[in-house]
């Protein structure tokens, strides 16, 4: 039991970060605006949570210009995908025990 809880990743102990990772598991690059709309967030909240994931090297950032507007997109790294899958496995294992 303790061991399973240890497998739960602290970095994903938050709804916003779970949301960001979920979307990046099934989409290659997702831009800032799409995250904001889908997760219903303010710029500041999204930026700070994205930053946290970036510092863990779970996601990478790409900044580019589309015309004259800056556009920021994110992609999950291999490390991030593995960490997220492990986290999901731990969540499922926990639920199975308590059932």
């Amino acid at each position: 039991m303790k061991k399973i809880i240890a497998n739960l990743n602290k970095a994903f102990d938050n709804k916003v970060r779970l949301g960001i990772m979920s979307m990046l598991m099934v989409n290659e690059w997702v831009d800032f605006k799409t995250f904001k709309e889908m997760l219903d967030l303010t710029d500041g909240r999204l930026a700070s949570h994205a930053k946290a994931l970036e510092e863990n090297e779970y996601i990478e950032v790409r900044k580019q210009f589309i015309g004259k507007r800056p556009n920021t997109s994110y992609r999950a790294t291999a490390k991030g995908k593995k960490a997220f899958n492990d986290h999901l496995d731990a969540l499922e294992a926990l639920l199975r025990i308590k059932d």
């Binding site: 709804k15 779970l18 949301g19 979920s22 979307m23 598991m25 099934v26 989409n27 997702v30 799409t34 889908m38 997760l39 999901l88 969540l91 499922e92 926990l94 639920l95 308590k98």
Partner: protein
């Protein structure tokens, strides 16, 4: 126990986000039903116009009716029917899908619907050109079944970007079309089955599975 619910909630939230961000899930089952009804109606008009009975294996496009309905020659009549069925089917499908998107809080026009459209259109354009080549070489009897084959392939391709059921619909359309390629001569009947009955069947299935909730 509280913790447990929290985890469950997190998991279902994850699943929902994965779906909503990668697939266009607002496709309404009623779109299929309405498109199918218009297709059947159109086919009915054509049978009535040429005064033929379905499954009698006549090449209806070579028939010349004695008293053209509405004063339209066969080519024009078929063209009017084809364009009206296509327009009505498309508009009604858009209407029901727009309604569902609004209810689901999903946008009608976003990355998921664009991706769905692009992946649907590629096989359709290839199929359209393929059918033109058949007509160009006077192989008219293969045109109708060939459209079904390519429409089916388009559905199979598009199913990765919307509700899974579209895949089975696609497989059914391909099989129907292939049958028609081997045993040509039932073009309109196959169209009525493929675009009419199959759409209604899968549309109602999807409606009962996803839309009623």
């Amino acid at each position: 126990m509280n913790k447990n619910n929290e985890h469950l909630e997190a998991l279902s939230e994850i699943r929902s986000l994965m779906e909503r961000s990668s697939r266009f899930i607002s496709l309404s089952g009623l779109s299929g039903v309405s498109a199918g009804l218009f297709a059947l109606l159109g086919a009915g008009f054509v049978f009535y116009y040429f005064d033929v009975v379905p499954f009698k294996a006549v090449q209806y496009y070579t028939l010349r009716p004695d008293s053209p309905l509405f004063g339209l020659s066969p080519i024009y009549f078929m063209l009017v029917i084809a364009v009206s069925v296509f327009t009505l089917a498309l508009c009604s499908a858009l209407f029901f899908t727009m309604r569902k998107a609004k209810r689901k809080g999903q946008k009608l026009w976003d990355k998921t619907s664009l991706r769905l459209l692009i992946n649907m259109i590629i096989p359709l354009i290839a199929g359209g050109l393929f059918c033109l080549s058949l007509a160009y070489n006077n192989a008219f009897k293969f045109v109708a079944p060939a459209t079904l084959v390519f429409y089916g392939l388009a559905c199979i391709n598009a199913s990765k970007y919307t509700l899974n059921e579209i895949r089975n619909l696609g497989i059914a359309e391909v099989l129907l079309g292939l049958f028609g390629m081997f045993f040509p001569g039932f073009g309109l009947e196959l169209w009525a089955i493929g675009f009419g009955i199959l759409h209604i069947a899968y549309g109602s299935l999807m409606y009962y599975k996803y839309d009623r909730a």
